[in-house]
Symmetry: D2
Subunit: 347 residues, 4 copies
């Protein structure tokens, strides 16, 4: 056990609840000492649940009044840059939720300020810590399936995203809000950066759910050409209603690997021979990635304790954002978009 690391949680919504649970119940070396949310009701609900006294309506207030070594930022995407930069300037280590930011300029600023402030910046790509993904990555690295040639990753989520996440003026839509983990995983497991992307989108449920936002889509299908010649596919269906579904399939020169499955629990029931067998599905992402969230937080805390660089960096977050930007440009302009097109402009 090393020195306890004090954490201020910024944003008190759903993923904040998951991180709180990790800190309170499973990562004893991290101490959740303060919570920030500009919505007082949301703030108090989470702080009450986890019995946290220090509650603030802004990160400024928390920085002024509370003592902590690190922040966990879980607020909406459009706030990430400001909050991360503020934390970095104050010398606080940062665990930053995905998507990293709205554009590459923001990503660059976050990375630069974290370097200036000499703080660790870990992107919250928790799949990198999921026992299945970790094992899969190690086996790919060891050459078990040979050089990856084609990788497919999907994330289907049950419910309608919040309003700001559906609107291209305040977010980058499902490509970012649902697929950030997929963008990161395909790049990580392929071991190569995206060269160009092509995206098709569809809107099937928007009307019946009362979404009239321009360019709204609930289905998307990404085609990727990697720099190493490999091919990639990413899909999102959200809301998909049927459960939470995150799976990856990789074909290498020597074989195939499947990561994850639809089944959520090994309890199978048959009571009607016309219907067949029933097996639980994953209902939510916190359940699917239960261990991943715990291991991610342990890693963040341990990196701070041992002063080692986290294994998921700002650069990783920036690449996911670049993929999203190229993808959005692709479906808007109905053509394949090279990553150079979105990256060049920012340099």
């Amino acid at each position: 056990m090393g020195i306890p690391i004090r954490i201020c949680l910024v944003g008190a919504g759903r993923v904040a609840n998951v991180h709180s649970n990790s800190l309170i119940h499973h990562v004893p070396e991290g101490k959740l000492v303060a919570v920030v949310d500009n919505n007082e009701k949301v703030l108090n609900r989470l702080a009450d649940q986890y019995e946290i006294k220090n509650r603030y309506l802004s990160l400024e207030d928390a920085l002024d009044e509370a003592e902590f070594e690190a922040v966990v930022i879980t607020t909406p995407t459009f706030t990430h840059a400001d909050l991360s930069i503020m934390a970095a300037k104050a010398g606080k280590h940062i665990l930053l939720e995905k998507p990293m930011a709205l554009d590459l300029k923001e990503c660059d600023e976050i990375i630069a300020e974290a370097e200036n402030g000499k703080v660790f910046l870990q992107l919250a790509f928790m799949r990198r810590f999921d026992p299945e993904f970790v094992s899969a990555a190690e086996r790919i690295e060891a050459g078990e399936i040979g050089q990856p040639m084609m990788i497919k990753s999907l994330t289907h989520g049950p419910g309608l995203p919040p309003e700001w996440a559906r609107d291209l003026s305040t977010s980058n839509g499902n490509l970012a809000e649902v697929n950030s983990h997929d963008w990161d995983c395909v790049r990580w497991l392929m071991g190569s950066n995206y060269k160009r992307v092509y995206v098709e989108v569809a809107n099937f449920k928007g009307q019946s759910r009362g979404v009239e936002t321009e360019n709204y889509y609930d289905n998307s299908l990404v085609n990727i050409k990697f720099e190493n010649g490999g091919l990639g596919s990413i899909s999102a269906v959200c809301p998909c209603d049927y459960g939470y579904d995150a799976r990856v399939e990789i074909v290498g020169e020597k074989g195939i690997m499947q990561i994850g499955e639809l089944k959520g629990q090994a309890v199978t029931v048959g009571i009607n021979r016309d219907q067949g067998l029933i097996t639980p599905i994953f209902r939510t992402w916190p359940k699917r990635f239960e261990w991943a969230y715990i291991r991610e937080m342990e890693h963040f805390i341990n990196c701070i304790q041992r002063e080692t660089q986290p294994k998921v960096s700002g650069e990783d977050g920036r690449w996911a954002v670049a993929g999203v930007l190229a993808g959005t440009k692709s479906f808007l302009e109905e053509r394949p978009v090279y990553l150079d097109e979105v990256i060049k402009g920012t340099e």
Copy 2:
């Protein structure tokens, strides 16, 4: 293609339908030329379906009037000895449905008459021809899981057996009517004969289904000690309502093997995250053992054509009956019963 073998089907019930389908559609070298059933309605229904002209109310009549090389006997168990002996005396090869007979004396007579008549006698243990069971047996034989130590076989059937099959005065109950295949398989795959057996039975649904027969049971659990020291378990639940279920699990000195699964088809659907995934189950035994029935019939026809001994013999059928008799004695007398006890008396 060899010389066509003409078949007379004796008994026109459910399994007769399965064998007719094999002969008519999948085993062109077998010609279904006559059908026998003492129930005229049942006889005509099957004969009409398969467009068979020669229809008889008794095997005697068929033997008198029709020309064929072999019989497939699918009538109730208590008729097997008489019909098999009659066929053997007439020089007809025999594919005999399980259970072979009601007692060992009948089995011995059938075997003796088949030898006398120089006809082939194949017991209809179709699991021996199922692609999964065949592959499993070959792999066990090749030593893949080492010497089998423990084997478990279950058969759960959806519906209430016919009245004669529920009554110990006209049948040997589920131990015979449902589990004959299991008795055969555990002995086949273990590579050893039963030494002693112990059986527990239960009656859960009899009352609600209006069964008042003495000693009726719908659940049974058999414990076997094999001559080679191995252990065996056989269970039957019938009626189980939920589908047709036949699976085997074997632990050998080097590993475990599972044969079969509950799932009946690789189509999985998820439409309700509170319910989960739905996958078809096997509804019936003809569906579960679709290829097994075809391959069994091909084998029978080919053995006649090539004049080679079928690989499932009267001896195999006799051992299954011996297990059933010891098992019935066991639950009636509430003690383990040695096979010697039931075999000795018959020699």
Copy 3:
């Protein structure tokens, strides 16, 4: 049983062997009476195996000398149009292997001649007869998963295709030779035609396998926009080495459906706890689609007997070719291609 239909098999290669097996062993109403192949060795090998006397080096010869009602055409794609047209003119019904032809003009000619000749033309999309696909299609039709929004279909084949099938000057590559079934299935199950397609390809194994053909690819990933707004994905990896793999996944407005699985047999073995469980994979397409090939042939024979239109038409074959042509144009020109672009030119 209806009147037997006499069949002349044109082409005596691998898929011809599968169709012969269906006709000889499982579809008694179809009589395989003649075989054609311009390679005498290939011709005699198959004809010997199935004991067929009438052997011809050309369809002309067969038409001159043998009597039959129908042809099953299994020769390389570039011969399909000539052979189909010759058969149609001679009044023979046609079961035509996929891909239908090299271009839409050939498709149109085949369709026109079949109409002129008043013969049935069935495209050999056997997945339409696979029990899993049939059940899935019925359940989609019944609304179980709602309106399909996204469909993904993959076919990965173990071995290197023949030389003519790798070369864009004699075939349309894997998009046609490997994915024809996928093109048909996604259109069938989505219930809509393709509007535009975008394709990425990769060549990972060509060099090590000695393939130097221009534009050769062994990995391909297709992105489809359907006319109804739905999205589709088709992938091919061939040679994939690890087995034969054909699966479909569909997300509808109400839920998800998976058709097929990697597992080839329900026999599971565990003998090494560091390795885990081992389960057979499908090794070949004849094994994966064993029942599909039988049911496809039954359908063809029955349609001729009953004079009803086969449920897989020339139009279906033509759409698959159109998709392939748009896909090839897409990866060559590195842009999405509308179906109109390839269809318009042919009208």
Copy 4:
């Protein structure tokens, strides 16, 4: 968060390591403050790993010198009674590993002393806290599969048990050391006590592993008749070598339920079409029951904090011991044994 509960761990072997991990990393309200083991090397290894200062060679010493509210007893079975009684007399709450004790007299004494000492006694049947088992039990309770009629539970463990656990003079063999959880689970899920049991055992690997103990067995198969008429089966294979395997199957009046599976992780790989697919198996019980151990410890700590009775009692532990004693008597005397026979003598 309630008041922290201080724990003294008695016994520092394998399962002690698992409980330490739960306490240190996942159950922050429990504080591991002292460890006892009479083997100094074993004691220091565990205490070093978890940085525990207070180390004692006996429970007496720990009681004299350290302050704590509860003990977790993980020593060999033959020490359970003495240690539990000592702890109870000192007013310490007890989490007691299975099997509870060697005989029913010891069980009765433990239960009586816990009552006298007004301390909570929780048996360490962690499967009662496994998410799959918990969900399964709730669904059975809710009537989903109807009244259970037949239940089968197996535990196969990879390695040879320690010497004392193989010898009927110092333990009750695999029936107790491997199957205690199964005895508890079948009774819990069936909702009825055992009425009589019959057991067959076998010794396949003893000789090759150098075990010459009298009555040693490595395979066992238990047949149970429950008081409610239901049937039960329990099997152990240990050492089984192939992995850790714990599964339950229950047939109720309305349907079937399977709990657990051989597969240990949802990562599937195919690299050889002659071999097939490879999927990890559970290698060890701590991995299989990872969450169960955490939830079990949380329950124990919470019961102490809230002063509520643990949901797994001494009575549950006593029933498992009674089943084991009847089972051992059964295979030694080669007859079914009524529970009354082993229970009566102790009253």
